[in-house]
Symmetry: C2
Subunit: 342 residues, 2 copies
């Protein structure tokens, strides 16, 4: 590719990261109008509330969309209209790892546009959250908080994470990192993958969804890291929750719909489960009336475990690498598969 | 050694562990009278409240002490009198890792008895607590708890542990395990040891107490794992606390006196420190009036982080190994050094 490529920055990105993108190759022409983009509510927020644009501003934004050949993130204004509004657009680098639902809902999966995901960017912070979520209950931090509030120094016998067994469901970027982190802590990791013959150093036993039921009674924790697909919707249902042994810990860093949430609430309310650390919920934001909020054995994180202060730097790393590949006609990393849905 | 050896079990131990001790060698004669021992308040409690013994029971207990050649734990009834009451006693296997203060206070350090510590038994659970204590603040769990109590789903930018830097002070059994665990999480670990030339795979930079001041401004967390000695008393004093960068996290799994506690309280109250996870306090139990109880950036664990459900199994492992060494006249593991104080 000898001519220039016009790269639209379609969601908030700090100037130093935009400068890095521009510097990848002399052929790159960056289209960046921060004044037309949603204002982030927090660092690395790519989903701020829509910005009210004047007619003239909207016209300018449409002009940028029309010129874009590559886009960093989807159009925040009218994503479903991108195929029509962006006639030259051939590739969107998403800022999220799980875009299946989004591209299906917007119909973008029926376009010719290539999508690459942020897969891998969130693996480290999500694995850290998964570990935190398990340690939180293994070390009985809710109990410690209550005792601290009551100013009571009461010695007790706590538990050790090392030597326990965890099941990791889904072994993509995130699941593999989760498996590595838990294995490093002395946890025996069992995996559930599409390909039950997948071999990973950190996973001592691999199975597929058909084989997981037989193993559920033998794990003390389960970490959900799979994409949301028709196959994984409601995967951890009432029956499977009851196959887990009493006191088991559930961590969900996938999507809320992977768990039957009413069944989860029941299994927490009657004490069958030792705890649940949830970064996602079936409906987000989790409604104020959800019983999950008030449960002592629940840790709620508002779908933020993947959002860390250095996220935009990591996203820019992926995008710059992919831009180099694009310009050299090499295969992109993290290409979204319409067939698999992730 | 061809004759028998009489082994007293001087604190609570489950029958299966006592049986393992008895099975180490045919020459072992176990003296075990559970009805004369303090009743544990929780699993693996070796310091239950003194038991009220009748005159006859006390006589029986004294008979056992007089017969003991080896003892699992110190006499709970009158430890300072052990040299007089146990004329045949040559070795005590302690159930605690840090016994320096205890043997000095009781005068037992002036006896001829050999002491072995539980060093190593607590390394894994203490390292897990240290990691939990750092993740608790890095991942802002106090904030999440407040939002959860208010039923507020507010997305936010959290932080990543990987890529940060931690200083581990004291690189014995516990400190080495702490260094390994943090390094496995992608943390750069700097160490403070007596021997600044000590080389450990998980520690990228080693210094001694004289060199630590220059490094304090560059670490985001400090984990105290050193024994309490005249050299380490008040080690983390007001000046050194202020050398840590704003937002730094302090973890104390050593002894409370290693920190200047009033200075710590000040550095927490004015927000200089991001958090402190304390398994120990200058005075234990921590008095109800201590401001530490009410601080949002403090996690208090009642000197229980080392006490895990499988502790007695691990203690028995050490003792059985040492009994084999004793009978074979090989050097014991974990011998307490009167000179070093640990």
């Amino acid at each position: 590719m000898s001519t220039s490529v016009r790269v639209l920055i379609a969601s908030h990105l700090e100037p130093e990261h935009v400068a890095r993108i521009a510097a990848v190759d002399p052929r790159i022409e960056v289209l960046h109008a921060p004044g037309l983009l949603p204002v982030p509510r927090y660092e690395a927020d790519h989903h701020g509330p829509p910005r009210a644009l004047s007619a003239a501003e909207l016209e300018r934004w449409r002009g940028l969309l029309a010129a874009a050949q590559v886009s960093f993130d989807f159009d925040w204004y009218a994503p479903s209209q991108m195929p029509a509004n962006c006639p030259d657009l051939r590739w969107v680098q998403a800022t999220s790892s799980g875009i299946g639902q989004f591209v299906q809902r917007t119909g973008l999966d029926r376009s010719e546009i290539t999508f690459t995901t942020a897969g891998g960017v969130h693996a480290v912070p999500l694995a850290e959250f998964a570990l935190t979520g398990v340690l939180y209950f293994v070390k009985e931090l809710p109990l410690l908080a209550e005792r601290q509030a009551a100013r009571q120094w009461v010695r007790y016998t706590t538990r050790q994470l090392a030597g326990r067994r965890a099941m990791v469901v889904g072994l993509g970027h995130v699941g593999r990192k989760v498996a590595d982190v838990f294995a490093a802590m002395g946890v025996e990791v069992w995996g559930v993958a599409r390909d039950r013959d997948l071999e990973l150093a950190s996973v001592t036993r691999m199975t597929d969804v058909d084989g997981m039921d037989a193993l559920l009674p033998e794990v003390q924790a389960i970490v959900l890291c799979c994409p949301l697909t028709p196959q994984t919707q409601g995967l951890l249902d009432r029956r499977r929750l009851r196959l887990l042994p009493p006191g088991a810990i559930v961590v969900n860093i996938a999507r809320g719909q992977v768990i039957d949430e009413p069944a989860l609430i029941d299994a927490l309310a009657d004490g069958h489960l030792g705890g649940a650390s949830l970064d996602v919920a079936a409906a987000e934001p989790l409604p104020p009336e959800s019983p999950l909020w008030g449960m002592r054995n629940v840790l709620i994180s508002p779908h933020s475990a993947s959002t860390v202060d250095r996220e935009n730097a990591a996203l820019t790393d992926i995008f710059c690498d992919n831009l180099g590949r694009w310009l050299d006609d090499r295969p992109l990393r993290n290409v979204y598969s319409r067939e698999k849905g992730y």
